[in-house]
């Protein structure tokens, strides 16, 4: 499977391939090709100016090697998304088959979209859900078919001025998901989106908007990967989630970009009264990941949760974490972060828990555990806890260590090799996160972690 994931299918058959680099003309071209309303073009252009004016963040991972002028910002493989896997060109389909997407769709999922470079190539949604008013489309289709909803929320949770990468995304976004769940509707099976960077030096800028009305429930799962190139590519996505009163949303990501991808993502959810937002974030790939999913707990009794795991290997810098902003009384949050750094990798937890002055009676608990496997690797934690009212409570604990020698010796005395013992202990370490993934992903993730861990003994 790893072999297929690392191949690329070339861009010869692409419908459209932009010039390298960024320009106002390119932004206008993207908007024109998509047939967007005037207000969206206007926002793209203002965001482009903002991107050019803002500096690269001075904190976090090293972004100085990104060659902005050499990236292809827009690549369109096909003109219209297909509705059946049979129609999808073979070169594209075999990637998704290798990952098991079509199979999973038949058995486990409520709907699927698949994106290749800048555009959606396939999409489906169970008829019963569509009848109830559930919408699961690419962001481009959402803008065309549900303009009032998109206009109401787009850019309101993550404005284009939020940070440099959000400005870039707002200027050149393409693809991503648009999910709308009407009040009271419980979507029992997960909605799955899969993103694939195919071309060399490509940039993928997906934009996702998820609106879940009162009392509704949905689980959105996304996976991503890219082939083995030596040059860098860039993935700068923006995800905005609106969770209304008493609704419940879970957003799961399994990130497995190849080790030359810069993965810089802004993800944020607003959570209303008595609603719940859960982020489940697994980071295995990429050269650099900077990602801090956030919950703005706006309504009384809102709950935010983050389960995050990161594995940083040779040449990787996983700089991840979460932000929980408590703005209302009796809100709660929980962050569990597990990271492993090995073979010279660096894993950092960067998080913020903020209790605003109105967050009376609110509570938060953060647990970060890190394993450093060898003397070449590095682990850091940078938690920022701000408690601005005396009647709220925060607990934070972090633990950094290596795999316990007694544990390994014990397992070896029971007949396991050192490598098997190590693998078992790591699986146990990650288990609280992996247990939360849909079954087929959990199996897949365990396999991917095992592949990463081979050779890390000693």
């Amino acid at each position: 499977m790893k072999q297929i994931l690392n191949e690329n299918s070339g861009t010869g058959s692409y419908r459209y391939k932009s010039q390298r680099g960024l320009s106002e003309n390119l932004v206008r071209e993207i908007s024109r090709k998509k047939g967007e309303p005037a207000w969206m073009l206007k926002m793209r252009l203002v965001a482009l100016e903002q991107f050019e004016a803002m500096p690269i963040p001075s904190w976090g991972a090293d972004l100085s090697q990104i060659k902005w002028g050499e990236i292809y910002y827009y690549l369109r493989p096909v003109d219209l998304p297909y509705k059946s896997w049979k129609e999808v060109p073979d070169s594209v389909r075999r990637v998704f088959t290798a990952i098991g997407v079509p199979e999973a769709e038949k058995a486990f999922l409520a709907g699927v979209t698949a994106q290749f470079d800048s555009e959606k190539i396939y999409g489906s949604l169970k008829a019963s859900l569509a009848k109830q008013g559930v919408v699961f489309l690419s962001m481009d289709e959402g803008l065309t078919q549900y303009p009032e909803i998109v206009k109401k929320y787009f850019g309101k949770i993550v404005p284009y001025g939020d940070n440099k990468l959000a400005a870039l995304n707002t200027a050149v976004w393409s693809g991503g998901s648009f999910v709308y769940v009407p009040a009271g509707i419980q979507v029992d099976l997960p909605l799955q989106a899969y993103f694939r960077i195919n071309a060399e030096k490509a940039g993928q800028f997906e934009r996702t908007l998820i609106v879940v009305e009162e009392g509704a429930r949905v689980h959105y799962v996304e996976g991503c990967s890219a082939p083995a190139y030596s040059s860098a590519s860039l993935h700068a996505a923006v995800v905005e989630v609106i969770v209304k009163e008493r609704a419940k949303v879970r957003y799961t990501t399994v990130q497995n970009w190849y080790k030359t991808v810069y993965n810089l993502v802004t993800k944020r959810a607003t959570v209303a009264k008595d609603a719940t937002m859960e982020w489940v974030d697994c980071n295995l790939g990429s050269r650099v990941t900077m990602k801090y999913p956030s919950c703005i707990l706006q309504g009384e009794g809102a709950h935010g949760e983050m389960l995050s795991m990161a594995v940083a290997g040779n040449g990787q810098d996983q700089d991840t974490g979460a932000k929980m902003i408590h703005l209302a009384p009796r809100t709660t949050s929980r962050i569990i972060s597990k990271s492993i750094s090995q073979k010279g990798g660096r894993a950092s937890y960067r998080g913020q828990v903020k209790m605003g002055p109105a967050a009376l009676g609110s509570r938060s608990k953060v647990t970060c555990d890190a394993l450093i496997m060898d003397p070449l690797s590095r682990s850091d934690t940078y938690p920022n806890n701000q408690i601005l009212t005396g009647s709220s409570q925060i607990e934070h604990e972090a633990y950094v260590s290596r795999v316990g020698e007694e544990q390994i010796k014990y397992l070896m005395s029971r007949g396991l090799t050192e490598e098997e013992a190590q693998t078992l202990i790591i699986r146990g370490f990650l288990e609280p996160i992996v247990a939360e993934l849909p079954l087929e992903y959990a199996v897949e993730l365990n396999r991917l972690v095992k592949l990463e861990m081979i050779g890390s003994v000693g």
Partner: protein
Amino acid sequence: MRKIVKKYSKPGKWKVVILFEKRGEEKEWEGIIDARGEGEYELLVVADHRVGETRGRVTVKTVVGRNARVKIRGVIKIAKKAQETENFLEMRGLMLSSTSQVMAEPELEIEANNVKASHAASVGPVDSEQIGYLRSRGLSEAEAIDKIVLGWLGV
């Protein structure tokens, strides 16, 4: 382990570096910030482990009163060659008023793998059950809180 205790009872800004340069060194440091008076209190404490087999324990406790703002930044740094180091950084904050504010930033920068480094931070208000119990024994609310604070500070 030798323990050094430092108390800060007036608003101000301080930096403390606890250096571990000799193999086998063990140091324990406790900072107590009595922020019952209005104002801004800022403390940066760094436990810098440059060599191996060193052990440290850093504790910062603070009591924060009305209109007092306390910022505590605690860093445990472990250099690449400082193997077999252990350190535990603990921050505890007790808030006395709805206008008390605490910013707690416990950080870790670990470059050696055979170490045990951990930290914990907890901030919260005075336990109302404890106040209730003391009041049932005849203390006024103010006296009860005073007693609880003294016990909590450990002085």
